[in-house]
Symmetry: D2
Subunit: 155 residues, 4 copies
């Protein structure tokens, strides 16, 4: 297992996240308490992961579930997610989503997303995804591993 | 803090959950991998919590954010959620959601939801909610605590 | 084109709809105005269409996009939808969704969904779907047409 | 009723829409057919309407349901929506949403949203919203009307 730097709790300073992405809270995401419904933060984290892949020069892996050489395919599924809600996002808030991969295992990786509004931490999501084919886990593709390490300066 | 029985990991047998509720997976909840998007399980858990409240004879608390006597009001916000995904739900699957409150703290409580399809565990959600008013936590209302204890046979 | 009976405006009496299905409004579907966000009614209509297919003995067509004989496959896409909102659904409302197919064209059909709460009409959805393969429309499968006509008593 | 220019069908050229906004399709919005679920286009149109209000210098009205002077409050509800789907949006598509108000009635207005990908029209949404208080319609606030007319060059 490749331990990336700073596998610390997701209250890490923002500087540890190589990717940041702005997201505006939508009306449809706010519930009758006037705050973003708790489940939508997993959608936000997924958006951030997509932007991480884009920034790292990775194709949008989870779409490409079948490739000519299966060993080169990433078809990832979240197996564990933890959300810590510190403060509520509200309608029309402009959030900053920060993302990084904090752990590269043999067949799994951990993605962390830190969500802020004007520098104030609102929520962190830690999601472990496993690469799998027809329900069986398999090693992360080598070029995925290499791209992540290069992007995060550990290559 | 009132420790309810069986505050064990959410892989507890189904018999420990006093509430069960059937839910049919919708087309709009399934993504391009053919499985339910990971964030929707928090919506499912919220549905199960609503049914728990109904079964326990509790009003739908989170709607009633302002009451004549604030100390009698529950206005709960999730502060931490953990999801363990064991297997994927798919379109048109008929799920059984099982719910219980596993911990009653001073101002917070833990709700656990176990989701199955034909007896097979798919996902567990553990969500800690805190009772709060204008951003400040406050004790759980006494009648909420009493209703939960009575419903789960600990009164 | 087969004109089914009663291709009248969707304010038709409930008796014209061969399928009805109960649906409980979820917390996550209600917005900060305290009412169901307008887009979710299309999800509700889709749920009703799934139940219509089940009741009519049809397989869940839109899943089966590839079959051995493509001419037997329904892969339908909504091309036009109209929603008339008469009154608002709110959290925990128990809705009755009523569905019917009001028109069978060569390659398209019209599904109508009427949503009520305690007999009061809340919303109607009229959705035209076309059967298509790789972006090109093609005739509705014969067994789909036959099943609909038989189910609605026009066979 | 104030007829704004060009109340033509929503296939109007893009130049008639004073507001445009970029939106990236999220993974969670794509269904098992690989295309955006039809209901999400109403969310997209709502996002576009929010940006229209921002560009026109209007406050985010639909949040401010109670004001000191009710006659100055806009609390709008969609009463009719029509969607025409021309082509499908897919995961990670970068859409351009174009918005305008095509009609200002006494108590209602019509918002049109045109969604494109690289200049290709994907979907149009036409939504009629009515200003209401406790279920009763009331005139649009004068400053709302004035702001729209000024923004669209009809003041």
């Amino acid at each position: 297992m490749t331990q990336l730097p700073a596998d610390q709790p997701p209250s890490d300073p923002a500087s540890l996240y190589p990717v940041s992405h702005s997201l505006r809270v939508r009306w449809a995401e706010v519930d009758a308490q006037g705050v973003v419904f708790n489940g939508h933060y997993l959608t936000y984290a997924d958006v951030c992961c997509t932007e991480y892949f884009r920034a790292a020069g990775l194709p949008q892996w989870n779409v490409v579930a079948t490739a000519d050489s299966p060993e080169d395919t990433l078809d990832s599924y979240v197996v564990r997610a933890t959300l810590d809600y510190k403060s509520s996002a509200r309608f029309d808030d402009l959030l900053t989503l920060r993302g990084r991969i904090s752990r590269l295992g043999n067949s799994s990786f951990t993605f962390e997303c830190r969500m802020e509004r004007a520098g104030v931490l609102l929520c962190t999501v830690t999601a472990i995804s496993v690469n799998a084919h027809q329900g069986v886990s398999r090693p992360l593709p080598e070029h995925f591993r290499a791209a992540v390490l290069a992007f995060q300066g550990e290559g």
